[in-house]
């Protein structure tokens, strides 16, 4: 990490690939992902960690990237919504969201799918209450959550990865 007008170099693994960026250490991981790496899947909904639209996985843990200073992600493995599909094949959860109507306007969907991915990795067979609890940090204004929860249950029944 070298200083360059207060900037530093941050090395991460993003969606399985090495990524180096030069950024102010306190810049939000969300902005670095979107602006420097062109990964615009993670969205800003509230900028204060309430809505979960910016959620990504950092070393396997769900995190709101609007609250993470980029330096904190140095050396970490970050997975965003863009890292789930294998080429043109959707991940099981993504397909389930399409099939069950889990995405309406779609703005919460990337964060919601990252939260659901994290949930299913920890609890491969969650009961409905566990799904509702597990996704309660991600706000959706369109769906009333029912079809999102059904998508997660559907993906769980198929196994997390195809």
């Amino acid at each position: 990490m070298t200083a360059d007008h207060g900037r530093c170099e941050v090395a991460m693994t993003v969606n399985g690939k090495a990524a180096k960026v030069c950024a102010h250490p306190m810049e939000r991981l969300l902005d670095v992902l979107r602006r420097d790496l062109g990964l615009t899947g993670a969205k800003e909904g509230c900028g204060e960690g309430e809505c979960g639209a910016c959620a990504v996985l950092i070393d396997g843990e769900l995190a709101n990237s609007c609250l993470i200073p980029v330096l904190q992600a140095n050396g970490a493995s970050v997975v965003t919504i863009e890292g789930l599909a294998r080429e043109d094949r959707l991940a099981t959860l993504q397909q389930a969201f399409v099939d069950c109507g889990g995405a309406q306007c779609g703005i919460c969907t990337p964060g919601m799918i990252m939260a659901a991915t994290c949930l299913l990795r920890k609890h491969p067979q969650p009961a409905l209450d566990a799904i509702r609890e597990g996704l309660s940090g991600n706000l959706c204004r369109c769906t009333g959550y029912a079809q999102i929860c059904e998508a997660v249950a559907e993906a769980s029944a198929h196994g997390e990865e195809r």
């Binding site: 800003e44 099939d99 309660s136 009333g144």
Partner: protein, 753 residues
């Protein structure tokens, strides 16, 4: 041609794949070369004269583009209905957060500091913050009497009914402001060059509203303004009229700087400065016979429109017409007013006035039932509108609706009668009470009265070189499924596969004006036009001898491709024509208010925790008649999502005002339901057959916003034996009422005799 098979099936959402992979492009995902970022300097006072503006010399202002009202090339207003709202305040401000100056800079991080470095001094003027203060006319802040619009509906001679009434029941009901809380904030990008004029990309519902507003503001002809809708992350009415404002701001900065300018609000700015649902007050005075028949009544409905007229007249109109609910009134008088206050203008939000008056009507029905000593079920059953009867506006119900049957089915689905007894008997304790409540209601689909005739929407279908077709509409997708359902309709009409149809991106340069995407009109009105335009394509191919009846999909693709090869462009248009025999009097507010209504019965079961005073909704049955369900998954998604917003309206979502400014403009302190807060919402459809929309569909989008609040509050009243007539109803409100009045007192019976 294949048998009908696409309509009624849950085909995959057209843009679903892009949305689940993060590839869908919303406005904030777009960056243009050389783009600047814009910010808005807003008023800090509710009302006053701007005395002086000073720019802190510590900021290098030469790096900034600064726009004031003086830079506006055209008229300083947001063109909508009455052009009273300035785009930038010029000498006078009428509400907190009113835009005064605009700034643009290449570095977005510098902007907040620059905004803070501009000091504006005001000569404050007296201001009004509530309906009552506005009515008092202690100060006149708008027009001559603080009133944007009045409506009067009169049916029969209500003055004659009071003498004959066994009971006269009065009640007053209020609803609060509600934030749309789409997860994607308002945002746009504007660019300008002398040749092409202004191009605007944005998160918006109504491209042609923005088009009209920019022409007037920027003083540009029709062909020098282009508006393109990007993927839109939720709207709910919150992106109906407001985008014209933010679009105007970005366009002014782009015209002055010659560079593309992006303005995307952060959450606090979006919540504090943009529109919300109109706060309301509804008073009912109803004459009822001993056997529970409504004889007549008076309704007074008032909404707080905020500082400028915007859409308040139209919201008021829909609320006024829905004030009578799904009931037969031999006589009724509805007086309605939209009044001005010094708050940011209130605006469109799903339901558009109807959730306010239907909350009042449905709470009032429970009050009437309590006073008469009959059940909430019975009072409704005895007063439902039936085919052949007339509504408050004198519209004869021609649909084969049977609300009694809908009610019976919903009661049975909710196991109502058993629960009504057992909840009272077995589930009440010192720490919790349970109850069950009903709301029965209707929602008119499409624009009110002559609205659709004035809109005269146009839809196009384009045959493409590969034989497939494109739907050309300005109707926008923002989650409801516009693209999917319109594609289903076109495919079904033409005997094509769903994948043979695509919907063009709404872009005023390439799509006709199919009207705004509002008012539960897209499937019913625009869908029908898609059907007509698609039929035109088929007929042209048949007339050209390229296709014969009973054709296969492959034959169509070949014929269409051959036509395009021979003639170049191949487009078919359809324009809205009012059905014959439709009468509407704009002056007297009499006639066919809506081409069709959706009808519903919702039943909520709740638990009130008497240690925390919080309410949980334990079961929710939503039964509705919306005509033919074209896409079961999307239709259910509309209902569940609407019910969730309705439960939020009733129990969670409270805008805290201070001097016209929202104090809780964050997701941290303005609370909407999470996945852990909602019950399983059980959705059922009844299909009675209807001839209005494409393949028999009516409107669906707004209906589910109307019923949840009264059903939930009626259930709370059932649980506690205490009526509540104001929403939002937060734990502290229940606490105050219960500690003040105790439990198990009968509902207040003002005016009973």
């Amino acid at each position: 041609m294949q048998a009908e098979s696409i309509i009624g099936t849950s085909v995959p959402r057209k843009e679903g794949r892009d949305k689940v992979t993060g590839r869908a492009r919303y406005i904030d995902d777009i960056s243009l070369p050389g783009m600047l970022y814009g910010a808005t300097v807003r008023s800090s006072v509710p009302r006053g004269k701007i005395k002086n503006i000073t720019f802190d010399p510590g900021v290098p202002w030469n790096e900034f583009v600064v726009v004031s009202a003086k830079d506006i090339p055209g008229t300083n207003c947001i063109a909508l209905i009455s052009d009273d709202q300035p785009c930038l305040a010029d000498g006078l401000v009428n509400h907190p957060e009113e835009p005064i100056l605009l700034l643009a800079h290449p570095n977005p991080h510098i902007l907040p500091k620059a905004v803070a470095a501009i000091r504006i001094e005001y000569d404050p003027l007296p201001s009004l913050f509530t309906i009552e203060e506005s009515e008092s006319q202690a100060e006149v802040i708008w027009g001559t009497d603080n009133t944007f619009k009045r409506f009067l509906i009169e049916k029969g001679d209500v003055d004659q009914v009071w003498a004959a009434a066994d009971y006269i029941v009065e009640g007053e009901y209020t609803t609060g402001a509600q934030e749309q809380l789409y997860i994607e904030n308002n945002g746009v990008i504007a660019s300008f060059d002398r040749e092409r004029g202004v191009t605007l990309w944005g998160s918006l519902q109504c491209p042609y509203y923005v088009h009209k507003a920019l022409m007037k503001l920027c003083h540009l002809p029709e062909d020098k303004v282009r508006v393109v809708q990007m993927e839109t992350g939720g709207a709910f009415g919150g992106k109906e009229e407001y985008p014209s404002m933010i679009a105007g701001h970005a366009a002014l900065l782009a015209m002055k700087s010659g560079k593309p300018v992006k303005i995307v609000y952060d959450r606090m700015e979006d919540m504090a400065a943009t529109t919300k649902r109109h706060p309301s007050r509804t008073r009912h005075r109803t004459a009822v016979s001993r056997d529970g028949k409504i004889l007549g009544g008076e309704v007074e409905f008032v909404i707080d429109g905020g500082a400028y007229a915007t859409l308040s007249a139209v919201v008021l109109s829909r609320g006024t017409i829905h004030a009578a609910g799904p009931y037969f009134w031999p006589s009724i008088r509805v007086r309605a007013r939209a009044v001005a206050t010094n708050a940011p203008p209130h605006g469109a939000f799903r339901g558009f006035g109807a959730p306010q008056t239907l909350f009042a009507m449905e709470r009032h029905m429970d009050r009437i039932a309590a006073i008469l000593g009959i059940s909430p079920v019975e009072i409704r059953r005895r007063n439902f509108l039936k085919p052949g009867q007339t509504t408050a506006t004198g519209q004869t119900i021609r649909e084969p609706i049977d609300m009694g049957r809908l009610l019976e089915r919903a009661l049975s689905l909710a196991n109502y009668s058993e629960k009504k007894d057992s909840l009272r008997r077995d589930h009440q304790s010192a720490t919790r009470r349970q109850g069950i409540g009903i709301a029965t209601f209707l929602h008119g689909a499409g624009f009110t009265g002559s609205g659709e005739r004035y809109l005269a929407s146009v839809v196009g279908i384009e045959g493409c070189a590969d034989g497939r077709v494109r739907v050309l509409v300005s109707s926008t997708e923002f989650g409801q499924g516009t693209k999917t359902v319109l594609s289903q309709i076109a495919a079904e009409t033409l005997g094509l596969d769903y994948s043979d149809v695509e919907v063009a991106q709404p872009d005023t340069e390439t799509v006709p004006n199919s009207g705004p995407t509002v008012a539960s009109r897209t499937v019913m009105v625009v869908g029908k036009l898609v059907h007509s335009a698609a039929s035109g394509i088929r007929e042209t191919l048949i007339a050209a001898g390229l296709l014969s009846e009973g054709y296969s999909r492959d034959a169509f693709l070949k014929a269409c491709a051959a036509y395009v090869a021979a003639h170049g462009e191949f487009k078919s248009w359809a324009r809205y024509e009012a059905p014959p025999g439709i009468f509407w009097d704009d002056e007297k507010y009499r006639g066919e208010a809506y081409a069709a209504y959706a009808w519903a019965v919702y039943i909520a079961q709740v638990t009130v925790d008497l240690s925390t005073y919080s309410v949980s909704v334990d079961d929710f049955v939503a039964l509705q008649e919306v005509g033919r369900v074209l896409h079961p998954v999307l239709a259910r998604g509309q209902i569940v999502g609407g019910v969730a917003q309705g439960i939020g309206f009733a129990l969670y979502e409270k805008v805290v005002w201070q001097n016209g400014r929202m104090q809780n403009s964050q997701m941290t302190n303005y609370i909407m339901p999470t996945s852990a807060d909602l019950p399983v919402i059980r959705v059922y459809f009844e299909e009675l057959g209807n001839v209005h929309g494409a393949f028999g569909a009516k409107g669906i989008g707004e209906l589910p916003m109307d019923g949840p609040a009264p059903a939930v509050v009626n259930a709370i009243a059932d649980a506690l034996g205490t009526g509540f007539d104001s929403i939002p109803l937060l734990p502290e409100d229940i606490f105050s009422a219960v500690t003040a009045g105790g439990l198990d007192t009968p509902p207040a019976s003002q005016g009973a005799r």
